[in-house]
Symmetry: D2
Subunit: 313 residues, 4 copies
């Protein structure tokens, strides 16, 4: 029987110590502690880990953390949305995203050429620089290959951006596939389209890429899922895992609730009815903003793995 | 100055009468009434209307309503996710989705071959029948065309399913494009992949389809957006509209909140900073489950348009 | 086995017809339909019905609906928060609440003497008029009784306000107790305090009022709960019901979720662990804004009861 | 101009270091960092600090943290709900609350005499022991005073429970008032009622207690508010602050959203329209479960104050 313990601050408390206390604190703190334990377990069991995130998380500073996690061997496959690709590259190109607030005057921002995502801003110039860069990159890729799987394209792009904090770069460097089934969306989709208008035989084969998604894990291997937010990135990872027999470990961090039947709010329990997650899998769902919960979930795992010399670097 | 009025029930009240009273009732009722008025305005202004929805809404009975709206001329383009395609077809094939509850025993459901989506269930057999049907359909489509835009594929599929309540069928019959940028995801993605394994020259060109998305409206035309839920379907519609100068009218119905910077919770105000929605556009966001809010928003519009003989049928 | 049915609009659809279709539509629509059925059952079983709501719902136009429901015999006890009392009286005094928007400029509103509640406004003058009126009312009540139970006080106040749309008036007129355990809060609390400063023997006995709350139903009677939102009003009703053996029927309409362990998000299931709701009770929770969901839940009940001549008037 | 910075884990990271990085991370992490800075400012400005919380937070291990904060001089007044009182005392009496899960079988729990609050459990025995203790305590208090303000009663109770982790004890010991305007609710309300049945002259004067609430700060002093969750506790603190001229600093931590007009979701901006928070006040709202966010917000403050020798102990 686990019991609630009175939480007390101790001078100099580390993140690892705080999350350890979360385990006997209550409500979502308990779930967060559980999620952290499950990720530790999946790593120790040498499970293939699928990490999924949406583009707003790349807009935020989590972009660097995703890159670091890949470098440290904490992800074996990444699934994300199209916006993530462009914003990872924008930051490589030296652009900064500004901190604003949720109640900013949007008409005024529009006049100033600033585009708001929650309390963050991306300037129009960032999109222009990205466009120029993409043109150049696509030309080089096209010379090598006309019909290309999405994850191959992203690998080629990643190899062009030597930035330690770029998840595309770290994934390419470490031979980790990045999947983006919805690449036709957003600015990157538009630039691919413009390029194709000039080169009709240039094909992004999102369908053929399913082979790579399925083959990056096998029925025999343990499989783990860390899904941040909802969207096609979460669904595609689950779909890939399902084709390989379902996940043995799953952690969902989300702000969505199960009550509307939306996929972003679908629980790990619901996933069991599908066989997406195995009946006896270790699974946890943490409700809260991932800019807060994800570092908290991961840091204790990294501390322990480092101590036990189980991190890649 | 608009004021709050005491709400009173009147015997035999119609949905139109209820929503009219919502306009002076408070909180989300006011926003819902506003959303309804904006849709009426966009239709009367002969705006091109983009309707977006996610697959869980097709799992629900809204599938028939989407088909009806297309038939009545209330949508000029549809954007949705891959799951919507398969579930629309499953229902055409005669399958029923069962009503269960949010707290069902998922391990037990898994054993019975029932897959849960919130409080609804889809049986494994439905997926098997769908697989058989898809094989047959894809063969016929492949004979006509090897490299095909996603919306062309969906049009071909729609023409094969004579079901008044199928949104794919109604869209195809009424020459309304259905976009699905993330078609590589889910069961339909898998069947496309299996088919491609046998026919390597079969290509779903999600990139080339952007042309159709852009061309289905023009800079000169008024454009309206009705976005149900979030996800790639909402984003792709906005992206297409942005390329044609931004929307003049926009209604978002969602359960997500703006506070996590997620796109599903992004407000119509935030969209103005991007030019996705014009600075002076008429726009409203209604927080609530679309199975409740969408019929309420649309029915008063349909009643008025019918009276004024502005519905297609 | 209940199945999902394709929803179709029918010209002239009544609210009753819409909610009937909700029963086979999906997600929260199904829960809303269930809630409506349960309220019909509790009324037909002649259960004692506790209706609870928070003050923001009185700010909205639901105030008139609450009064109408009392008049029609749909509530046997009301539990609410202190703000509800003052706003019910302000409306009796002829004041109007203005419709504004959720993003109004609050500093500017403050300068204009307008106080915002979501997208609604209450002017400072309304509070001043209320203060004058309260002084007069309390003098009259004090002459009759020095130490008074809260529900007695509210009954005396209700008898002073002949307004068909006032829930205090309708409750007093129909001998329905109104409980307000947190009356010391808010403007009414302040006016009671100021009056007591002049009359030290004036006592509002919130503790003694528990007798009235317990005695308004008995162990032998069926008991039903309709709880709108959370807060002390929901908890006090459940506490009173628990002392009489627990509820046989319960409907919660709320925007809060269970995940934070808050009472406003606590489900009807959780209530069963306490015996607050009986193990075999009919119970439903609907997630959504009550300005939308409450009229939808109640109207079909009223239509049927009217038809079967079971409404009080 | 503040910009987003790529977040990177550093071995041995303290909570203070993590929250410092939150300031350039994004979305709610930025708001959390801001909230932490504001609490530091309010303390350095020697503001009178009102801390409010709901009973579920006392059920959780935050109870010990609340006590510690009082001991360290971080709160000058506490406002809470009735359940907090009984659960603080139950823990003093040696009872443990068990950790369960959100999907527990509630009917089974009921049979076992276990009452669920989210993922936590309180046993029936805990309530029985509490009842016995209360009887004894109330007898002693009654001998000293027949008519008593609520905060006086809670001070007397606090003095009887020598438990370092009890917030009632620490508040009493440190001369910090604890307000509970809704004391008539819940188990403690019932025990007060039973005692009054035997001693008719025993009066809990919730109205007279407003004097203590108003006098615990003055117009001339700076005032700060830390409101955890919503409910009457948050509202009463604001009401008391408003009577003394409004707050200069305010931090809200909540899971509720502004969209339904509920008070628990009301923002610090909305409060400015009322003068509850001054127009130029430093204010922040953090959306998330307080078991996670509150320790994160407070720990960096405590670390800095300790370093600067500004903590009481």
């Amino acid at each position: 029987m686990r019991i609630v313990k009175d939480f007390l601050w101790k001078h100099g408390m580390t993140v690892g110590e705080l999350v350890a206390k979360f385990g006997s604190l209550g409500f979502q703190a308990i779930e967060l502690h559980e999620a952290s334990e499950i990720i530790l377990k999946m790593k120790k069991a040498r499970a293939k880990i699928f990490l999924t995130f949406t583009s707003n998380m790349v807009t935020s500073g989590l972009r660097g953390f995703f890159a670091q996690l890949v470098k440290l061997g904490m992800a074996d496959a990444i699934v994300t949305t199209s916006g993530s690709i462009e914003e990872d590259i924008m930051k490589f190109l030296g652009d900064n995203f500004e901190i604003s607030n949720f109640n900013a005057d949007d008409v005024q921002l529009h006049e100033k050429g600033e585009n708001r995502i929650g309390n963050l801003l991306i300037r129009n110039e960032s999109y222009m620089k990205f466009e120029d860069k993409m043109n150049e990159c696509l030309n080089r890729i096209y010379e090598k290959k006309k019909r290309i799987d999405t994850s191959e394209l992203l690998r080629e792009l990643g190899l062009m951006f030597k930035d330690e904090n770029s998840f595309l770069y770290q994934a390419a460097k470490n031979n980790i596939p990045v999947f983006c089934p919805g690449i036709a969306d957003s600015a990157i989709g538009f630039h691919l389209f413009m390029f194709q208008q000039k080169h009709n035989d240039f094909i992004i084969d999102t369908i053929h890429d399913i082979k790579n998604a399925v083959l990056c894990s096998s029925h025999d291997e343990k499989k783990g899922l860390i899904a941040l937010g909802g969207s096609i990135s979460k669904h595609y990872a689950i779909f890939a895992g399902l084709l390989s027999g379902g996940f043995d470990y799953a952690v969902y961090l989300t702000t969505s609730h199960a009550t509307s039947g939306s996929f972003s709010g679908a629980t790990t329990n619901e996933a069991k009815s599908w066989g997406k997650i195995k009946d006896d899998a270790a699974a946890a769902t943490v409700i809260g903003d991932v800019t807060i919960t994800f570092p908290l979930v991961m840091i204790p795992v990294l501390e322990i793995l480092k101590k036990e010399k189980l991190l890649k670097i």
